[in-house]
């Protein structure tokens, strides 16, 4: 059977390989040069548009270190004022990640084309995921502060929305790759789609779902630490204050504590995720 030739193959003709018995095979030319060309053009264009200059980085880059050095030595006695906002941040991340991830399950089911046969529902749910994914966390946090007032509830809400969109997309893509055999068997014995999904699909997606949610949670701890900027509670509040008052040594203390917190959480989550991979 003849393979169809695209526009690219018409310009860059495929190579014809002939075997010793006279049979021929067409080897298409690699697409890599085209891809590299497009990436280069995009880079040049974006440098042009943003007015990015290497000379500015060379000239003023050292000031970055200047600010960093001002943070040291950190003010150790400030640590007692950090714990409360730090725990608020972690609480916001845990609760927000949990709510968002759990909410993502039913919506991901509706967005999976192998489970839901109605194209309208699938497209609408995916559109909903796309919209929530394009909302910047800082913006949702700010809107949430208008609704729920200043504080951690606003931060939790915005983290839940972000987790929902992120975990949801990965989840519906994962659902579309599962083995549908057991689902089919459940339907053949008279189960509704929802029941067949919970018995046959959920056990298959669970390890991936937990791993993705944990990965998202790691990132959320970092996101949550800047949400204080818009009044959504947590450690961002005092980061904002110390920068405003130019208490760089206190800022240093916050950065050190935050660093260790993030590292500990990442290691914990990585450990759990590795355990899960072993299960598969």
């Amino acid at each position: 059977m003849e393979e169809k030739l695209g526009l690219y193959d018409k310009i860059f003709k495929p190579r014809l390989i002939t075997l010793s018995n006279g049979k021929t095979v067409m080897e298409k030319k690699s697409r890599a040069p085209l891809v590299i060309l497009v990436i280069l053009a995009a880079t040049v264009l974006s440098v042009h548009i943003t007015g990015f200059k290497f000379s500015t980085i060379m000239k003023r880059g050292y000031q970055f270190w200047d600010y960093l050095f001002r943070m040291f030595p950190p003010e150790l006695s400030y640590v007692n004022s950090i714990w409360q906002p730090l725990f608020d941040t972690i609480k916001m991340s845990i609760l927000g990640s949990l709510i968002g991830a759990l909410l993502a399950i039913p919506f991901a089911m509706l967005a999976a084309s192998n489970i839901i046969k109605s194209k309208v529902i699938v497209v609408l749910t995916r559109l909903f995921f796309s919209i929530t994914r394009t909302l910047p966390t800082l913006v949702t946090a700010m809107v949430a502060t208008f609704v729920f007032g200043l504080g951690t509830i606003a931060g939790t809400t915005s983290i839940a929305i972000f987790t929902f969109s992120y975990v949801g997309k990965l989840l519906y893509e994962q659902i579309e790759t599962v083995n549908m055999g057991a689902f089919e068997a459940m339907e053949s014995m008279g189960c509704t789609k929802l029941r067949a999904f919970s018995v046959a699909i959920i056990p298959q997606i669970m390890p991936g779902f937990i791993a993705n949610s944990l990965y998202c949670f790691e990132g959320n701890v970092r996101y949550a630490s800047i949400l204080g900027y818009v009044g959504a509670g947590g450690i961002g509040l005092i980061i904002n204050q110390t920068i405003g008052w130019r208490y760089y040594s206190r800022l240093g203390m916050i950065v050190v504590i935050l660093f260790f917190t993030v590292v500990i959480i990442e290691y914990l989550s990585m450990w759990i995720r590795n355990k899960l991979v072993g299960e598969i």
Binding site: N179, A182, M186, E187, S188, M189, G190, A196, S198, V199
Partner: protein
């Protein structure tokens, strides 16, 4: 009783899966359906529980017109029909007993299905079904630890737990080695005779079919070309079912190349 009356099935792409099929299958029969790949064996079996719709004609199963079934009525109808698949279709990530208990899922409250919390009487019923299939000792093993033959027995136990009147089996032994295939065929025979369950089985291995089933239905290109006792099958009938030259049956790859 299963009654096909001038049933045709046309797929959306125009392919005719079944052409004017008429048959009657009594309760408790053990029927083998043979034919080439793509002849319509799977289509025939899957119309019985409406996993596939029919396009024309009428299909009546236990006094119910199958093509009119929808939603809740269809699901209730399917409770009485078990299905066995070539690739077993178990939830491999969970234990054997959980798979067997999934037969009760349609009748349980939703939260029990979601969290996999089953009643004690369901557990006992599932364990009895496993005992019936001779794999009771594997009840708490994860399914992906089992061999193919054992997995097909778990699938059979799941179907038995469902307590069906009819079992549809789509190439149940095609993925198994000859010895295991024979054991699974014995299990089917046992279920058929002990419980008077109608068994419809699609099968590639003609020799196995002739050995175990009472009645053979031969399909070629969507049409029934033979329907009768397995004892009366002759070389000539087989060559009609398998499209002329019987020597081609031995080498399937040869056939596919001519497609």
């Amino acid at each position: 009783m299963i009654k096909f009356d001038h049933v045709s099935k046309i797929y959306p792409n125009g392919f005719k899966g079944l052409k004017d099929v008429s048959l009657e299958i009594e309760q408790g029969e053990f029927v083998g359906i043979i034919g080439l790949s793509g002849a319509g064996k799977t289509t025939l079996i899957r119309t019985v529980n409406k996993m596939h719709d029919i396009s024309e004609g009428s299909l009546i199963v236990d006094d119910v017109e199958v093509k009119n079934l929808k939603g809740k009525a269809l699901r209730r109808f399917r409770r009485n029909i078990g299905m066995i698949f070539q690739s077993f279709n178990l939830v491999t990530r969970t234990t054997v007993i959980n798979n067997v208990m999934s037969a009760f899922v349609p009748d349980l409250p939703f939260w029990r299905c979601l969290f996999g919390i089953y009643r004690k009487e369901d557990k006992i019923k599932a364990l009895e079904a496993l005992d019936n299939m001779g794999i009771l000792e594997k009840a708490y093993v994860r399914c992906d630890q089992l061999s193919g033959g054992q997995q097909q027995r778990v699938a059979l136990a799941r179907t038995l737990a469902q307590d069906p009147k009819i079992i549809l089996a789509d190439e149940p032994v095609a993925a198994l080695d000859p010895v295991t295939a024979r054991q699974v065929m014995n299990d089917f025979k046992k279920i058929n005779t002990e419980r008077n369950i109608t068994v419809l089985i699609n099968i590639h291995h003609v020799d196995l079919a002739l050995e175990y089933v009472d009645r053979i239905i031969g399909i070629a290109a969507g049409k029934i070309v033979y329907d009768g006792p397995s004892k009366k099958i002759t070389e000539a009938i087989l060559s009609e079912i398998y499209g002329g030259d019987l020597s081609k049956v031995g080498s399937a790859s040869e056939l596919e190349r001519h497609d």
